[in-house]
């Protein structure tokens, strides 16, 4: 298991999400990624992206005007075995 840091400062959403998405593709299940951002929108967007893609948000915090999100990489293929959110 590795722990990595992604600098997404000065980027406006959705770029921090895109950078997170691209970084996560290079990581393994269980790895931890800390994303450091300046756009407050990430507090909503990165957790939303994590929820729909099967990753776990471990922590969100603000630190001296910055927004830090810590996530644990989940099993992305398992999410593809999708169950609809409504009856068919």
């Amino acid at each position: 298991m590795s722990a990595e840091i992604l600098n997404a400062r000065r980027l406006l959403c959705p770029l921090p999400v895109i950078r997170t998405q691209d970084k996560v593709k290079t990581l393994q299940i269980g790895d931890v990624l800390t994303v450091e951002c300046t756009d407050p929108g990430v507090i909503q967007d990165i957790p939303a992206w994590c929820r729909i893609n099967g990753h776990k948000v471990l922590e969100t915090r603000t630190d001296n005007g910055e927004y830090i999100i810590v996530l644990e990489v989940g099993d992305q293929e398992a999410v593809r075995e999708w169950k609809p959110a409504f009856p068919q």
Partner: protein, 347 residues
């Protein structure tokens, strides 16, 4: 048991692509979303830079839609590739600098490439015939399908019954009778369908989802190209055109004046890339200087800056000039009177 078919849906974050995806999911198709970021996308967060609009939800609508649908969303950065679409659109521009038809062709083509790489079967869009004056017309639907290379793999569930059969319909992967025949600019059928699906909350961007459809933004972009003598841009240009008041007193430089604290915070991130200025003796906005400004230009910029600060009525205002290395010096200026700030300096 028949193979479960998979479709990739272009998700803009608006209602139409949400409904189109849901209509196909209702037929047992596995759907994943794709969303392209050109840099010009109108997002809640861009507006959220400005404090006064923070009452709006700070959410990315494409992600939100994907979550409502329960599908994965792949957000693709196409900023660099998109330059060719914007700079050389084969089908021309709309009312402003919006190359809508070329943009749609480009995005459907990118979705087609993604579909092939990922082993998906067809593409969905939320297009409706007659919904948009440039890209969503009866005549442009086949152009998009043909020039994107998607051909009959492109399904528009909301108006499919007004269009020729596509492969997913011919093969029976989806039942054409359970698709729709919407057309025209009315939003009533979509709102009715949203109600039927139980979607109570959805984004309805009044001016579309792209800054290039905005007259003011397009003017600033053209001004940037004229000032630089070339039609080119990078992401920082695109972002900075979204914020501040842009004032060009001379052809070779302009001021970007923060309109409030949110913009000032955002623009502060660019202090290493631009000469920046602010009022030292009074409250006032942050200003970035874009271009090559000599001492006289900086003096004029200082006077304009002072005009937007709380010292606008006083004789003298002290202004701090900061170079890209962060070295500061102060000058004293007389705020520029309103009648000496011509309308045509405002971009």
């Amino acid at each position: 048991m028949s193979q479960k078919r998979k479709a990739v849906a272009l998700i803009s974050g608006g209602l139409d692509s949400m409904l189109a995806s849901r209509a196909v999911m209702e037929q047992g198709i596995h759907v994943e979303g794709i969303n392209f970021f050109t840099g010009f996308c109108v997002e809640g967060h861009t507006h959220a830079i400005r404090n006064k609009e923070t009452d709006k939800p700070k959410r990315n609508n494409a992600l939100w839609v994907a979550e409502q649908l329960g599908i994965k969303l792949h957000i693709i950065d196409i900023i660099e590739e998109y330059k060719q679409v914007l700079l050389n659109p084969r089908h021309g521009y709309g009312a402003n600098m919006n190359p809508c038809l070329d943009c749609k062709i480009f995005m459907v083509n990118k979705a087609r490439q993604w579909m092939m790489e990922q082993g998906f079967d067809f593409i969905i869009t939320g297009e409706v015939i007659g919904q948009r004056p440039m890209s969503q017309r009866k005549q442009t639907m086949p152009i998009i399908a043909a020039e994107s290379g998607a051909d009959d793999l492109l399904l528009r569930p909301l108006c499919a019954r007004n269009l020729p059969l596509t492969l997913p319909e011919r093969e029976g992967w989806v039942d054409r009778d359970r698709l729709f025949d919407f057309s025209g600019r009315s939003r009533k059928p979509q709102m009715e369908l949203a109600k039927q699906y139980g979607f109570a909350d959805y984004a309805q961007p009044a001016g579309g989802c792209c800054f290039l459809t905005d007259e003011s933004y397009s003017k600033k972009l053209v001004d940037l190209w004229q000032a630089r003598g070339e039609r080119d841009y990078d992401l920082d240009d695109v972002m900075l055109l979204k914020v501040g008041r842009h004032i060009r007193p001379r052809p070779h430089f302009k001021l970007i004046v923060a309109r409030e604290d949110g913009e000032a915070r955002f623009m502060s991130g660019y202090k290493k890339d631009f000469i920046s200025m602010n009022c030292a003796s009074h409250r006032g906005p942050l200003v970035l200087i874009d271009g090559k400004a000599d001492e006289d230009d900086l003096l004029l910029a200082g006077r304009i800056l002072a005009r937007y600060g709380q010292g606008r009525e006083v004789e003298q205002v002290e202004v701090t000039i900061r170079d890209r290395q962060g070295v500061e010096r102060n000058i004293v200026v007389t705020p520029l009177p309103a009648d000496q700030l011509p309308e045509d300096w405002f971009v």
